[in-house]
């Protein structure tokens, strides 16, 4: 029999942060986007908002 282990809350947040960092790095390396500070800022802001939402959800689960 097989069991698939789901990530813990900490691991979920860590994965989201790592994904955000990778996206930001990829954007910075992309010659089409290089110099597009506005676009980079938009993406980072979006990612931070998503992370904040995720942490709020996790905290709600902890309270339950």
């Amino acid at each position: 029999m097989r069991i698939s282990v789901q990530p813990t809350e900490n691991e979920t947040i860590s994965i989201a942060k790592r994904t955000a960092a990778e996206q930001a790095q990829a954007l910075a390396r992309d010659p089409n986007q290089a110099g597009s500070v506005v676009e980079l800022r938009r993406v980072v802001t979006d990612i931070l908002a998503r992370l904040e939402w995720l942490e709020i959800q996790v905290n709600k689960l902890k309270v339950r």
């Binding site: 029999m1 097989r2 069991i3 698939s4 282990v5 789901q6 990530p7 900490n10 691991e11 860590s14």
Partner: protein
């Protein structure tokens, strides 16, 4: 034996460390014990167990089962495809393991069962696999991490 040693004349499939840890869980104190081929000796150190405590300990020890865990590899690739094979050996028809905090009943065939572990995401804390009921199966555990 010391004068106050207590001797249980039956064998258990675990060592003295298991008995001491049981005492700690049951009575809040690690009692010095010895196991050998014929039985279990409970020493009066750091204190003598009471008659009731000794009866409780004997009941627990008579119910213990053999138990061993092994894993073919301790590191797997995250993503749900790669897997580690945990092999459990015990007695009875099945044994309930805890994979992290999830209970998994593993059927035993000829005293052996197999559980495959996959992980959806890289782990921060290792995936710990152990028996649910420590006082019956002991404290053996294996760990797997996903990268």
């Amino acid at each position: 034996m010391d004068r106050e040693d207590v001797y249980f004349a039956f064998r258990i499939p675990h060592d003295a460390e298991f008995v001491s840890t049981c005492c700690n869980l049951l009575f809040g104190e690690r009692i010095e014990t010895t196991t050998n081929r014929t039985g279990v000796i409970v020493h009066p150190r750091p204190r003598q167990l009471t008659e009731d405590e000794l009866a409780q300990l004997e009941a627990v020890l008579r119910a213990v089962r053999p138990f061993s865990l092994s894993v073919d590899k301790t590191r797997i690739q995250a993503g749900g495809t790669d897997y580690a094979v945990v092999t459990v050996q015990s007695s009875g028809d099945s044994v309930v393991l805890l994979v992290r905090d999830t209970e998994v009943e593993v059927p035993l065939i000829d005293g052996q069962g197999v559980l495959e572990i996959t992980a959806e995401a890289p782990t921060i804390e290792p995936i710990v696999v152990r028996a649910k009921d420590h006082l019956v199966y002991g404290f053996a555990q294996v760990e797997v991490e996903a990268i």
